[in-house]
Amino acid sequence: MTTSTPPVAQHPGPTAESGGERSAAARFWRSLTRTTTGQVYLALIAILVVCWVVVAIKGSNLLSIDSIADMLIRSVALGIVAAGQTLVIIGMSLDLSVAWVISLTSIVAAVVMDGSNANIAPGILVVLALGMAIGLVNGLVITKLRVNPFIATLGVALIIQGFIESRWDGVVEGVPGGFEDSLGYSEIGPLPIAVLLLVAVYALVWFLLRYTRFGHQLYAVGGSEEVSKLSGVRTHRILIMAHVICSLCAAVTGLYLAARLGAGSPLVGTDGGYDLESIAAVVLGGTYLLGGRGSVLGTLAGVFILAILDSTFNALEVNAFAKDVVRGVIIIVAVAAYSFRWKERRVRKIGAGPAPAVTGNAPQTQTPGANA
């Protein structure tokens, strides 16, 4: 009589084999083709090639030094925000307040620095503290008040929006020349400081995720709050920390944009669509929207992809507004494409579990912070 083995959660890819071929080259190839992050980078290269061809047909060079520098600069603002967004999404949460945090911090920077180079340092400190405070509020509302993350962060966004719109109408002057020059435009060697900032942020976040207890436990919390709690993880603390860092990243982006524009602006966050685009970058980078897995390096690839597409549209002189439409479509397609893969995996339990039942799609079944 045969024993039938119930389905087991299997990831695509080779099952563990003993010892064997683990040469560096083989490992690199494996990580490039088999891991999601690797695949995203392959996609990045493919997209780059396609776009380069398309743009070349039009007569320009997508890969000229100027163009590449341009794409890199474009990536900085979105990139920094997306790094923070990666953290909260890994924790099965979300932050839709980032766009307004960016606007607020750009304004506060201008106001505190008040045109004087001597105020740059305090300005930066105040802005960073503000970012952390907002993140703290987000985290507390989500964990302690048990409010659905996107209602919580959208609510906070509204509060910030109301505050900004009631006090400031247009561009806010006050960014001192020194700040504008250094962060916004100067270079160290061939690289703009901004790009170095981007690299630093990603290195830091990558390090956090891979080498600190916080990072490890964040993945666990996003994977399963239950299992984490049973192993003694302080789930609320971890989530709050993730939100603090996310808003901190948004604050850094605000600083950068203030430097770039030479002023603070109430609309800089929403104009850039940083809320939705940061989520898009994270999703494109292969991070699972329902938490527990993902890589910030993948997010970086996602950011680059969006930057390449942006530059391509510009080179093709596509209507600026059409870009929005295309971006929206891309987001949906990306999430849908990943969704199929995710649904398959998510539904299977480890161990002897019953067959999966019919599932609906309401987000409340997956978000932390019960709201229903």
């Binding site: 009589m1 045969t2 024993t3 039938s4 083995t5 119930p6 389905p7 087991v8 959660a9 299997q10 990831h11 890819g13 080779p14 099952t15 563990a16 003993s18 010892g19 891979r210 080498y211 600190t212 207890r213 990072g215 490890h216 436990q217 993945y219 666990a220 994977g223 399963s224 239950e226 299992v227 984490s228 049973l230 192993s231 003694g232 993880v233 699972y288 527990g292 897995r293 995996r345 339990k349 480890i350 161990g351 002897a352 579990g353 019953p354 067959a355 039942a357 019919v358």
Partner: protein, 538 residues
């Protein structure tokens, strides 16, 4: 009835004798009730260091509940837990873990997207300064794995989701070891393992035993128990029947201890077999990824009982017939005509209803009213059919003798029995020809059970074909006109009305689980079982 502490425990097969000492684990007088329903009635259990103590009993006997209390997932209503001479009170599984208790559930507590090492050290990641020392994590994990599972090397940096079930189980054990657990509870550990993986598990369990761990092993596979355990505790209906030494009892005796109770329950009289209707539903060669070789007929007006142990495929059979997890092979006929049932909607259109096992998550919309729940399936019917069947919620509720504060009351406030009646009324509204019941009286107090039984028999008497899955042997025996017994995803056999519990259990556990060397032995055991439990006959 207790095995007194200090008694020497010997092994059933091979290995050195373990020294005597006062037992590492003592559970005394453990009682548990949930909302007034008594589930455990004062259980005593002991386990010494270096002992494998098996816990057996049919479904619902209380094994899982008892173990969950030990693991800190539930708090006992009475009784105490003593570990190493020190009384313990656990209000959270973490506390049990810190006291040295680890439990491996059937559904593992692992994170599939993290590596083996990351899972093992979750929450206790080793640090060097303030950096997590991944190398150390992987080294320690590898050491653990190599030590006690050298026959199946698992790389510590492999994602747990990529491992086989057996390997995932190994990771769970490694986790317990890394926590320096003294007491390990394993709940049906071989449920999804292939034969050679089971062998490996045995080797490992023996090794753990040699290390001095106290192991509590829940299983219904008697063969395994005899291979591994020193002592066996039999639970039945929330009580301890007996604790025996494994080498002093035969499998037949064990089965007898597990079953055979006085049938003082009333069941409505069974149908007259000669008046049985035609075949309503026929399945031939039905198979899914869990089921195989399903051939069955269900007649109009009869109650076909489905017995079998947990994991034998009963619910999967129900879901296949209902189209929730449809058959991948085979044919289904209704009233002699072949049909394709690939979704619940199609099944309902063909007149099939399904009272599922978990009424709260699958049968009811708890925040809605009685009226809305009773009308739920009816509302899902195609418009033409809906117009044919006028629904009168009040009449339906009366027909099932529902007791609620009006039709507008939210269903979540009803008792379990009344909730089940709402589900039944819901299906009655669709005028079904075949109704499947999966554990129809689970979680319902004794008083209400009779009402449900009457309803089910009433349905059959009205000509409806009934398929009834139940883990409660008296219920299966008392209610069914015929019984099929499932095992390992197939139908192991069929029994006529009124078999003994032992006969059912024999089919449910399978010949290979019972020590029978020759045909003669097998026949002798079968005879023993049929004569066992006079009280089992109704």
């Amino acid at each position: 009835m207790n095995v007194s502490p200090g008694e020497e425990s010997r092994e059933a097969a091979g290995g050195a004798a373990t020294a005597t000492r006062s037992p590492l684990l003592q559970m005394r007088g453990i009682k548990k009730d949930f909302l007034g329903v008594h589930v455990l009635h004062g259980i005593d259990l002991e386990c010494a260091a270096g002992e494998v103590h098996a816990i057996v009993g049919e479904n619902g006997a209380g094994k899982s509940t008892l173990m969950k209390i030990l693991a800190g997932a539930y708090t006992p209503s009475a009784g105490e837990i003593i570990i190493d001479g020190k009384p313990q009170k656990f209000s959270h599984p973490l506390e049990a873990q810190q006291a040295g208790v680890s439990i491996i559930y059937q559904e593992f507590n692992l994170l599939p997207d993290r590596t083996v090492a990351e899972n093992v050290f979750l929450g206790r990641e080793p640090k060097r300064g303030f950096i997590v020392d991944r190398a150390k994590m992987e080294r320690e994990t590898e050491k653990l794995l190599r030590e006690f599972a050298p026959d199946d090397p698992i790389p510590p940096d492999e994602l747990v989701g990529r491992l086989s079930v057996a390997q995932q189980q190994t990771v769970e054990i490694a986790k317990a070891l890394s926590l320096d657990s003294k007491i390990l509870v394993m709940d049906e550990p071989t449920a999804s393992l292939a034969a050679h993986e089971v062998e490996r598990l045995f080797t490992r369990v023996k090794r753990l035993r040699e290390r001095g761990m106290a192991i509590l092993y829940i299983s219904h596979r008697l063969k395994e128990i005899f291979e591994l355990a020193q002592r066996i505790t039999v639970l039945k209906d929330g009580q301890k029947v007996k604790t025996v030494n494994a080498d002093e009892v035969s499998s037949a005796e064990l089965v007898k201890l597990m079953v055979g109770r006085d049938l003082d329950q009333y069941f409505p009289p069974r149908g007259d077999p000669s008046k049985r209707g035609d075949v309503k539903l026929r399945v031939r060669g039905g198979a899914t990824d869990v089921l195989a070789n399903i051939d069955l007929d269900i007649h109009a007006g009869e109650i076909l009982g489905v017995a079998g142990l947990q994991g034998s495929g009963r619910t999967e059979l129900a879901r296949a017939i209902f189209g929730a997890d449809p058959f991948l092979e085979g044919t289904v006929e209704i009233d002699g005509k072949p049909v394709k049932i690939n979704s619940p909607q199609q099944a309902i259109a063909h007149g099939i209803g399904f009272v599922s096992e978990d009424r709260k998550s699958e049968g009811l919309t708890l925040a809605q009213s009685v009226r809305d729940n009773v009308a739920l399936a009816w509302r899902g019917l195609a418009r033409r059919r809906r117009n044919q069947l006028t629904i009168n919620v009040k009449d339906l509720c009366q027909a099932v003798e529902l007791r609620s504060r009006g039709l507008g009351q939210e269903v979540r406030f009803l008792s379990g029995g009344n909730q089940q009646k709402v589900v039944i009324a819901k299906w009655l509204a669709t005028e079904p020809q075949l109704v499947i019941f999966d554990e129809p009286t689970r979680g319902i107090d004794v008083g209400a059970k009779a009402g449900i039984h009457d309803l089910i028999r009433g349905l059959a008497n009205d000509g409806v074909a009934v398929l009834m899955i139940s883990s409660e042997l008296p219920e299966v025996i008392g209610m069914s006109d015929r019984i099929i017994v499932m095992r390992n995803g197939q139908i192991a056999g069929e029994l006529p009305a009124g078999p003994t519990e032992a006969e059912i259990m024999f089919l449910a556990t399978g010949e290979e689980d019972i020590e029978a060397e020759t045909e003669a032995d097998l026949a002798k055991i079968q005879e023993e079982l049929s004569s066992a439990g006079e009280g089992g006959k109704s």
